[in-house]
């Protein structure tokens, strides 16, 4: 079976979990004998890094994927105003790109149609809204079925406030016209049934996963986990945006410090809310306890997980949330909001409603204070995540492909 896949970011050029998921799934599919042509929009900045660099990713099986880059200024997690700002900075090259993000999406779709005419494939697989139009264009010219993969929706990204209608319309159209919809969690499945009216029968949940061999083998880090180290570290790692709940993290940090003054909070990542979060920490008088590590990559990320005593994902709405899996694979327990899809597959973690700052702080302190809790969580969550693999998730995708193709054959 051959798949024409539209992604929008890929390691090492990713800025978030989507790239990680796309990489993992591609690898898992190849491991299961699926042929893949992966089409990626490539931002102007990334054009300078050679394709060879893109291909030199950790897993050999990925080299079997045929990569096709489409010149585009799209970058993952862009919203329309980001795009405009970005275009201002890129003035010199403006002529080849669309003047706004939606034009860009259309332009990408046109190029996708051209690629679909050249390539040989059985099914189309498109990841998140910016590629839906491309997926639909490929479906139109090829007549092949389309599977759209929902990693996040506009409702998650905006926390339900001020959702961009244009974006949600593209999402709805993509899901409606697709032959099947894959969501990364039951949580997201429920959301798209409620917010987009997609019938349950059309949706299949394929949870994200983690592969043990993707965790870099870095040596023991001199960390706060040393029992003699009295200062404990709590880590936030992710984009600093409304969706991820960094403001609840800071509020909980303030509260936790009242009970346990020897905690250091590290925020790794960047995003539109960063200035507000710095201000909030200062306003609460805990600026000296909160360190901003900036955007981390590759090994730095895993080093950060290892150094931390506790990883926190306080998301307001998280379709999946792959970072807790990365944390526990680095032997660091996780505290995750109940509004996160990952809790469907990672049972051995602490959980809390994102808005329940008291319990969030309580569980932070408990995880640092009670060493049996810490060790039991570390051990059992590592064990649980070790059983996961992208190959297993890919098998579920292949089942969806089979159902779609079988349905067409019989329909």
């Amino acid at each position: 079976m051959k798949v024409l896949m539209f992604g929008w970011e890929f390691p090492p050029m990713n800025t978030g979990g989507l790239g990680t998921a796309c990489y993992g799934l591609t690898k898992g599919l190849v491991q299961n004998g699926i042929g893949i042509t992966l089409v990626l929009p490539q931002a102007a900045t990334a054009l300078h890094s050679s394709m060879a660099g893109l291909l030199k990713v950790r897993n050999a099986s990925i080299s079997k994927v045929k990569m096709r880059a489409v010149k585009s200024a799209m970058v993952a997690y862009m919203n329309p105003s980001d795009y405009e700002q970005y275009m201002l900075r890129m003035k010199g090259q403006k002529s080849i790109y669309g003047s706004n993000l939606f034009e860009e999406v259309e332009r990408f779709a046109k190029q996708a149609a051209a690629i679909a005419r050249e390539e040989d494939f059985d099914i189309i697989h498109a990841h998140d809204w910016m590629t839906y139009k491309a997926g639909l264009a490929a479906k139109r010219v090829s007549g092949k079925p389309l599977v759209v993969h929902v990693h996040a929706t506009e409702f998650d990204r905006t926390g339900g406030l001020g959702a961009n209608e244009h974006v949600s319309r593209i999402e709805k159209e993509g899901m409606e016209k697709a032959d099947a919809v894959i969501t990364v969690s039951g949580y997201t499945k429920q959301k798209i049934m409620e917010n987009y009216g997609i019938p349950e029968s059309k949706i299949k949940v394929v949870h994200n996963a983690i592969d043990k061999d993707d965790i870099p083998q870095i040596g023991q880090v001199d960390s706060g986990k040393n029992p003699n180290n009295r200062i404990k570290t709590v880590l936030y790692l992710g984009r600093i945006t409304l969706q991820k709940g960094p403001d609840y993290f800071i509020a909980a940090a303030k509260k936790a410090l009242e009970a346990e003054p020897n905690i250091k909070f590290v925020i790794a990542g960047s995003g539109d809310m960063e200035p507000r979060i710095i201000e909030q920490a200062a306003h609460l008088g805990i600026a000296h306890k909160v360190l901003f590590a900036g955007f981390l990559r590759d090994e730095e990320i895993h080093r950060a997980y290892r150094m931390a005593d506790l990883y926190v994902l306080p998301s307001v709405s998280e379709p999946f949330g792959i970072t807790p899996l990365e944390a526990v694979m680095n032997h660091t327990p996780a505290l995750v909001s109940k509004q996160s899809g990952v809790t469907e597959v990672l049972k051995n973690c602490l959980q809390v409603d994102f808005w329940d700052v008291d319990q969030m702080a309580n569980k932070m302190v408990a995880a640092l204070r009670y060493k049996e809790l810490h060790s039991e969580l570390s051990r059992s969550s590592y064990e649980e995540a070790s059983k996961m693999s992208w190959s297993k998730s890919a098998q579920k995708c292949i089942e969806v492909y089979g159902n779609v193709l079988g349905g067409l054959a019989h329909g």
Partner: protein, 410 residues
Amino acid sequence: MVSTCFYFQVHQPLRMRPYTVFEIGRHSGYFDEQKNREILDRVSNKCYLPANNIILELLDRHPEFRASYSLSGVALEQLMQHKPRVIDSFKELVDTGRVELLDETYHHSLSFVYSRPEFMEQVRLHSKLVRELFGKSPKVFRNTELIYNNEVAAVAEKMGYEGVLAEGADHILGWRSPNFVYKPVNTKKISLLLKNYRLSDDIAFRFSERSWKEWPLTAEKFADWVNKVNGNGNTVNLFMDYETFGEHQWPETGIFNFLKKLPEEILKHPDNDFATPSEVIKKHKPVAELNMPNILSWADVERDLSAWTGNKMQQSALQQIYSMEAGIKSSGDPELIEDWRRMQISDHYYYMCTKWFGDGDVHKYFNPYDSPYDGFIAFMNILADISERLKKAREANAIKEALNAALDSI
């Protein structure tokens, strides 16, 4: 001649609130009164009251019918406070003279494993409450969750009990049958009754399981299984949680009709009758001595202590609470002692169990918390608060003593 011996366990724990680290030192209420009351109401209405009615009917209809119960002290306390009707209906049963009450630890605790003096005190507290409420002095002892070894029998004998109950799973008994009375090693008079785990679990766990080849289980079929013991046993010991009737097995499964019909079917065989544990012991001499040096229980497939002591959180929680014993008792503060004892209720440790991926489904069903970790956090925070109270009580006592000394010298 085969006697069917029913023993039902009645217990409701005091579930903790999600007590936070910020409440340590504030001594706010430890237990979720609303949730505990809701569950007590539900179980009373779904199980205790309707099941007691059926038992009473059965006692009326069949002069041969017998049953026995053990009600934990913490369950009795909650019932006295919120559901006195349930207490009255148990009194009615006991007053027939054909329903026996057994003793256990008042706080349904694991104290036998961790502190002998504390264990004996809790058993005495239970015995006292049963005497006050029902006017009876139990003669047979069952330990929390049927936790048992040779030592339990020896201590129970020393405390004056004539019989003791234990689990009778195959891997413990080997070739021996649970359908006889045994004598524990190194004891003189006390008799040991073993749970017929297959027949007991057919009712308690498998009754509504549609994938079970014997489903649906009828009273006729079950009576036939009991009859088969005739000729190679004296007693069929059916030991189970009373909540089996109407709570674990919902009324829709037909469990109440099964209970209503069972005595009649069993009594169709002229050689069958019913007996309470004390009657079984009186009627039958022990057939052999039984040596059980290792602790066993009736929980999970392992039938050991791992449901309460299997992981580091549980071990640490238990180690810490029992290490406080001397300090707590010397404080002389009855409220502090009582709260410390309430934190010994075995359910608190059961909720911290992490062996979820197997027979763990049962654990999840009974767990009022989202995860074992949440149960541990609440427990440790409450224990820290108890420690603070203890510290204050000690300081107050020290001041009192100093004052008295000063007054004496004047």
